[in-house]
């Protein structure tokens, strides 16, 4: 009985202090993410278009070019680029929720990079605040669903258990991040680091519209260029297969659509141009028809030409300008 009381006292002490610390400490500083949301918040409700996704949004959708194209067609917009390197569902939904909570006026539309959920934490993000920040309960449930119920193939008991056992360590990693996030572990240390070091990276300066400019030059040469050309040639012969992926990614996309529509905006799905063998296909014919798909090099040769590429996965400045104009053009057709 005494031991139990002592344990209760310990838990009370822990929770009380953790609660006070949580109230008193500012939110986590997540490189790029915090900076972007800060920029977005400071501009108030000036922006009416959002672009969200990975580096293929961050470095390829140029708000200025997009707004000029839209204005020229008599549909003026003010766009903010909320793309972040390596951001895929469900992190992007989390960031989108945060961003939409910062504004009062409705948006016109949100350009969303069309991706399925990434289950693994990127190596470069592992054990960093970037991996921790988006792990709220909702996202953990999504990851859990994907891990244990994502595959609806009929399997035997043994096979099912083996599969669950196989994915458990990765799921556990997500659980640890969730625990770190909700208990706000290490936040004091982050503040300390912020006082000790200059955490702003001058190389990654973010423009007021959230865009990160890419060099004009092409970064492809030698072996990389040869590999890229081979991949694109294969895409020309066999265009990427459209795949529905698993139901959890579809549910996640539907949730994203709900959030966007609640903000009074329309969701525009974009498949960016890069070497791939398959692309994510949303459920529903109406939704499928609305996807702006740049995955076919025969249809968009200018986006795949090596002169317009920074690397295999990204366009350079010139390629990004073309890409942005093409998105504007396609959206105008849909409006």
């Amino acid at each position: 009985m005494r031991a139990l009381l002592n344990i209760i006292a310990m838990v009370v002490g822990f929770i009380a202090v953790a609660a006070v610390l949580s109230k008193k400490t500012p939110p986590r500083y997540v490189p790029t993410v915090t900076e972007k949301l800060k920029r977005y918040a400071s501009a108030g409700d000036d922006f009416d278009v959002l672009a969200i996704g990975s580096s293929r949004t961050y470095r390829q959708i140029i708000p200025k070019v997009f707004d000029e194209a839209m204005a020229a067609a008599g549909k003026p917009t003010r766009t903010f680029n909320l793309g972040i390197d390596g951001m895929r569902p469900p992190e992007d939904t989390y960031v989108l929720e945060k961003a939409l909570a910062l504004r009062r006026k409705p948006l016109k539309f949100v350009i969303v990079e069309c991706n399925n959920i990434r289950f693994e934490v990127r190596d470069e993000d592992a054990d960093t605040v970037r991996a921790v920040h988006w792990h709220d309960w909702k996202r953990l449930v999504t990851i859990g669903r994907l891990a244990f119920y994502g595959d609806r193939k009929k399997r035997g008991f043994g096979d099912t258990m083996k599969r669950r056992f196989d994915v458990f360590p990765e799921f556990w990693e997500h659980t640890e991040y969730w625990f770190e996030n909700v208990t706000e572990l290490g936040r004091g240390n982050e503040l300390l680091s912020a006082r000790l070091f200059d955490t702003t990276d001058p190389k990654k300066s973010i423009g007021s519209d959230g865009f990160h400019d890419s060099p004009v030059r092409t970064g492809l040469s030698g072996k990389e260029l040869a590999a890229y050309e081979k991949d694109v040639e294969a895409m020309r012969k066999t265009p990427p297969r459209a795949e529905r992926s698993e139901w959890v990614s579809q549910a996640e996309l539907a949730e994203k659509r709900r959030i966007i529509e609640r903000a009074g905006a329309k969701m525009i799905l974009v498949v960016p141009p890069y070497p791939m063998t398959k692309r994510f296909l949303p459920d529903g014919e109406k939704e499928q028809a609305a996807v702006i798909d740049f995955s076919n090099p025969l249809e968009f040769p200018e986006l795949y030409t090596p002169e317009h590429r920074l690397d295999e996965g990204h366009t350079n400045r010139t390629g990004s300008e073309i890409y942005t104009r093409l998105i504007a053009e396609r959206i105008l057709r849909q409006l």
Binding site: T25, D127, D166, G186, L192
Partner: protein, 580 residues
């Protein structure tokens, strides 16, 4: 969707959550068992499983591959845990052999075998690469090209610690200070006991083996002290040590691009880091061990407040320094001879102590600097013994002077160019390293994940290259790249050049550049830590929590954990001493 394969097992750190779960099971079962023998068997099994976790990688991949005989698919070094068994079995028979020997000659033969085999295994894994490199350098200096293929040897975790531990047993039996242990279980348990097997403290057989004979009662466990000590160790490692490393690491990566201000900040931070890292580990190991009913030796006693370098070595890594004193210094003759003879012994002990830490000339320099300081201190004591007034001055300057010398010695210790392990890898490399195992293996793309007896470096394009031969004139290393092809790397500077640069900044306040590694807040942190440390050394913080009621203590402990977890780093670094 592609689901990731199971991640290879990481070495288990005491600061991780998963250790808490594992320990909860070990602890619970240990105290549920009634018989002392059953507890020892349980702890022995747990200790070996714990140690295996450092080597076998993901169990779901390891065991199917093992049972299918797919040897090539097993992680390199998966068999290293057998070395621990080998050492245990051999020393068991050596101990019995010594005790049963009819003649002194036979006793000597038994102990010589223990020394030869234990040190031979340790020497091979730890120093083969170092030896090979130096021979290659000499051959190259003679204008010849080395024709033999280098053997890639990786360092098994904890080998330096458990080798010294098992050696202490055979040496004590040989010296008739300890009867041979007839119970194999007791000896195996002593050598493999998991809290100390990977990074010490190096427990003596004389201290530990008697504890295995009597049944431990739960009522004799100082739970309050253990929980407080574990929390203190956690704070030292996860909150202080790893935070200070964020100051030290970028500076030591390129001192030539930093100011003298940075040199002081980073060197002091490193002094704090290495103390907090290692003493934090020791505190946690001692606390964990006590919670299971066993006492380990104390490893640190506020070493930075020492009045002299001699005193420093009585307070720093006490289990190693006393081991070296008792089994090396005294065996060499100690101070039973002329002054020069004593000084030779001192110097040899410290240099070998330096080499124990790692196969690198910078560790030799570190040991030699301590050796010189010990000799100078002895001479100084002799000269000033009769001089009046000197004592008063020394009383004031002794502690800062000793600390300054220790600080200077930490520079070659930290700046070794012979990279044997993670502290010198990039952050990503360090992370990968911590998820790996070690063993014989040809260099492949994952080699940077393993602690290597060969130094390695990262090229500008982040490729890992094992460094096999060094050309001192051009400071160029030739080696093997991750793709297996020969590679050449021009290092920015050798460990010695790096040491010289830091010393220049520390002693002459020379700015190599204007860049500061961190803001002024570091001084507030270091100042605060020094004050707390000093108060603790005066026992001002040590007693009050013992007299408060249980519920209040529990409440405060909970609050303490909340604070500690709030101030811990997001990503832990591996314990520095895991590499030794």
């Amino acid at each position: 969707m592609t689901l990731a394969a199971i991640e290879p097992a990481k070495p288990i750190l005491f600061v991780e959550f998963r250790f808490l779960w594992i320990f909860a099971i070990i602890f619970g079962v240990n105290w549920l068992l009634r018989s002392n023998t059953a507890r020892k068997v349980w702890l022995l099994v747990c200790s070996h499983v714990f140690y295996c976790c450092f080597f076998i990688g993901a169990p779901s991949e390891f065991f199917p591959n093992l049972f299918a005989g797919k040897w090539a698919d097993l992680p390199a070094g998966w068999w290293f845990p057998s070395l621990l068994w080998f050492s245990t079995i051999m020393d068991y028979y050596v101990g019995v052999g010594i005790e049963d020997a009819k003649t002194d000659r036979r006793r000597k033969q038994w102990v010589a075998m223990s020394l030869l085999v234990n040190l031979g295994v340790l020497g091979f894994f730890k120093y083969y690469g170092f030896f090979d490199q130096n021979v290659r350098a000499v051959v190259a200096w003679m204008g010849l090209t080395p024709s033999w293929e280098p053997l890639k040897v990786f360092l098994p975790y904890g080998i330096s610690f458990y080798t010294f531990q098992s050696l202490s047993y055979s040496l004590e039996v040989y010296r008739r200070k300890l009867p041979a242990e007839r119970s194999f279980l007791n000896l195996a348990f002593f050598i493999a006991f998991f809290p100390q097997v990977v990074a010490g403290p190096i427990v003596r057989a004389m201290t530990f083996l008697p504890q295995t004979l009597k049944k431990v009662e739960w009522s004799s466990v100082d739970v309050r002290g253990c929980l407080a000590l574990f929390l203190i160790g956690f704070v030292k490692k996860a909150c202080i040590g790893d935070t200070l490393s964020q100051v030290a690491d970028p500076y030591f990566a390129s001192p030539e691009t930093h100011s003298a201000y940075s040199a002081w900040a980073a060197s002091l931070a490193y002094a704090g880091q290495i103390y907090c890292d290692f003493s934090g580990y020791s505190d946690m190991a001692i606390a964990v061990s006590r919670l299971l009913g066993y006492e380990l030796c104390v490893n640190f006693a506020f070493p930075y407040f020492s009045n002299s370098i001699t005193e420093f070595w009585r307070r720093w890594h006490m289990s190693l320094s006393s081991w070296l004193r008792d089994y090396l210094y005294i065996s060499l003759g100690g101070n039973r001879g002329s002054k020069l003879f004593t000084y030779r012994n001192l110097m040899l002990t410290m240099v070998l102590g330096g080499l124990w830490h790692g196969a690198s000339w910078t560790f030799v320099v570190w040991g030699a600097m301590h050796g010189v300081a010990l000799i100078v201190h002895r001479e100084w004591e002799r000269i000033t013994a009769a001089a009046a007034g000197v004592g008063k001055v020394m009383k004031v300057i002794a502690v800062p002077l000793t600390f300054f010398w220790v600080l200077l010695t930490w520079i070659p210790f930290r700046a070794n160019d012979i990279y044997t392990d993670k502290p010198n890898a990039t952050d990503k490399g360090a992370k990968l390293l911590s998820r790996s195992s070690a063993g014989f293996q040809s260099l492949d793309k994952d080699d940077h994940e393993k602690p290597m007896a060969y130094p390695f470096a990262k090229t500008d394009d982040k490729k890992t290259v094992a460094l096999l031969a060094h050309d001192a004139k051009t400071n160029t290393w030739t080696g093997t790249g991750a793709d297996g092809k020969p590679a050449t790397i021009h290092l920015h500077q050798s460990g010695f050049a790096l040491t010289a640069k830091v010393w220049e900044s520390l002693v002459l306040f020379k700015d190599h550049a204007k860049r500061n590694v961190c803001g002024n807040f570091i001084w507030a942190i270091l100042g605060g830590l020094t004050i707390v440390h000093w108060l603790n050394s005066r026992s001002l913080l040590a007693k009050w929590w013992r007299i408060v009621p249980d519920w209040l203590y529990s409440l405060l402990l909970g609050a303490g954990w909340a604070l500690a977890l709030h101030w811990k780093v997001v990503a832990y670094k591996q314990f520095i001493y895991f590499q030794f």
